[in-house]
Amino acid sequence: MTMPKRKLDPLPASAFQILLALAGEDLHGYGIMRQVSEQTDGRMRLGPGTLYSSIQTLLEAKLIEELEEREDESAMGARRRYYRLTSAGRKLARSEAERLADLLRVARAKKILRGGYV
């Protein structure tokens, strides 16, 4: 029997946001949560369950990788595990962004959305 695969196709919004969050810098779990909240203007606040199950899925798919635990100066020296985007992850994030950009172009063509080019 094969293990039930977690789905990454289509890429869930939370997973995409995590990839985007890690595009800038390596972050730990809480850092990812804050970055995602920031880049969505607070609309998406990932809870620990969703966050870590997405992280697990992304790790399994080798879209992100785990780094050694290190100290986080901002949190009283607590040791934390950091995550980094892999090149496969960057590629997937890019293709997902392109897919969305395509969608956007269609929306504009149909006059659902106004505005300039992305």
């Binding site: 977690r6 779990g29 809480y30 809870g47 369950g49 969703t50 870590y52 595990r81």
Partner: protein, 462 residues
């Protein structure tokens, strides 16, 4: 408090997920608690968490089924291998939906209880006093000096700071706790079972989610009580470094204590007959019977002609069990068994009743209590209530049984292990942690008025 709840909720996740991400999830929870300020941050946080549980739990379980995929080949008695084949079907949608709904229902009930019931529940902590004496009943070789007010440890709710404990310390604490229980716990069979269970939990990784000292101590206490059903068995975490294992009190301290007792007229604040011939005895400790026995006897003599007795223990935080026995003796006309979890059941567990010339043995007795009535004062109240010899008026008491002998495990962890076995003829539970429930529940400030009213009514009926 809220972290404890969250770590309990985390246990709903499959063990594999917990083992890998439990600590990180807990850390994230703490980070949010620390960082999120403003109006109703707690409500927002818990709303997010509950939604998060509802969304992520079913997914995790669907995924974690894979962990069972290693089929095993067993040889049956006739030598033919039998294979266990795991079902390859996905969970049916109905199960997922009903699972989600059930989770939501359970979590929202929990949330409501958290909001409304949380205030009522309180956990009483004890820890050793900073003077270096043990808590509660002193062990062999130690001596009890009068009353001792043991400050309650701040609850986690009040103190949002977290005290991290690493894997190595957790392992060390579990092993030490198991050894101490095996070595000192009064009942051999229970001791073995309790110690085994602690180690078993550790082996199963049940202790791994909790990285906070208080939460970890509470978890281990829970594990021990699951097996021993003994509320006197307790493991505590102290933020400050614990003093070295307490030694017997020095003679200088003892003398100081004696002088202070004499200066305070043995803490007997008021001994008088109130109108309606009601005896009123307000004592703020149960002082040492050897020092204050005479004073206690003369106090009781002066109240001998009263038609009802009121013992005011609202400011009484405990003291000498011998004084409890001495005073209780006046309330019976025959020797009566007084249960005390701190001492083995012996001849001393019966009152020396009747007391010569005493007329109080058949008079109605009222005991006034407050939320800070503790320890020996609870001993007095609990037994007289259970013997139906007194009516308790006031508030539920502290719940300080202190029957364990304190053992220091390391700088921050210590445990109370009961080394005695007293027979409780009344009930499975005593006042440890739950306190003594009053028969008439009134605010402590109004307890005297209420008791006097009851005493006068009782007298009129006679």
């Amino acid at each position: 408090m809220s972290e404890k709840i969250y770590s309990l909720l985390l246990r709903l996740y499959p063990s594999k997920f917990r083992a890998r991400y439990g600590n990180e999830a807990l850390q994230l929870f703490r980070d949010r608690v620390r960082d999120e300020k403003g109006s109703f941050p707690g409500i927002k946080l818990w709303r997010d968490l509950l939604v998060d549980f509802a969304i992520s739990l079913p997914g995790e379980y669907m995924h974690s089924r894979g962990g069972l995929a290693e089929g095993t080949a067993l040889y049956t008695s006739n030598g033919v291998p039998a294979f266990h084949v795991l079902d390859d079907k996905r969970l049916p949608t109905e199960s997922l939906v009903s699972g989600t709904l059930l989770t939501l229902l359970a979590l929202s009930t929990f949330w409501i209880l958290l909001g409304y019931g949380g205030r009522a529940a309180s956990i009483v902590h004890f820890r050793p006093s900073s003077e270096g004496r043990g808590v509660g009943a002193p062990g062999p070789g130690a001596q009890r000096i009068g009353n001792e007010i043991v400050p309650a440890a701040p609850s986690i709710e009040e103190n949002k700071r977290m005290y991290p404990v690493d894997d190595a310390e957790r392992r060390r604490v579990v092993r030490s706790a198991a050894s101490l229980v095996r070595q000192y716990y009064a009942e051999r069979e229970k001791a073995e079972k309790t110690a085994d269970s602690l180690l078993e939990h550790e082996k199963n990784g049940d202790d791994d989610v909790l990285a906070d000292g208080h939460a970890f101590a509470a978890l281990l206490t829970g594990q021990m009580r699951e097996v021993s059903y003994d509320r006197h068995l307790t493991l505590e975490y102290s933020e400050e470094e614990l003093p070295p294992q307490p030694a017997a009190p020095d003679t200088e301290g003892l003398t100081r204590h004696e002088t202070s007792l004499t200066n305070q007229s043995c803490t007997f604040e008021r001994v008088e007959i109130l109108s309606g011939n009601i005896g009123y005895f307000k004592l703020n400790t149960f002082p040492s019977a050897s020092l204050c026995g005479k004073a206690a006897e003369s106090a009781m003599d002066s109240l001998n002609s009263a038609r009802a007795m009121v013992f005011d223990l609202r400011e009484n935080h405990g003291g000498d069990p011998a004084m409890v026995m001495l005073l209780a003796a006046y309330l019976f006309d025959h020797p009566e068994y007084m249960y005390n979890p701190r001492e083995n059941t012996t001849k001393q567990s019966w009152t020396h009743s009747p007391v010569r010339g005493n007329k109080l043995a058949d008079k109605p007795v009222f005991i006034l209590t407050s939320a800070s009535t503790a320890s020996a004062a609870e001993h007095f109240s609990y037994d007289l209530k259970m013997l139906k010899r007194a009516t308790i008026v006031g508030e539920r008491t502290t719940g300080a049984a202190h029957s364990g002998v304190w053992h220091r495990i390391d700088d921050h962890f210590g445990m109370g292990v009961p080394e005695t076995k007293a027979i409780n003829p009344f009930s499975m539970v005593d006042w440890a942690e739950v306190g003594v429930e009053p028969d008439a529940q009134v605010k402590s400030g109004e307890a005297l008025k209420a008791a006097l009213r009851m005493a006068r009514t009782t007298q009129q009926e006679k």
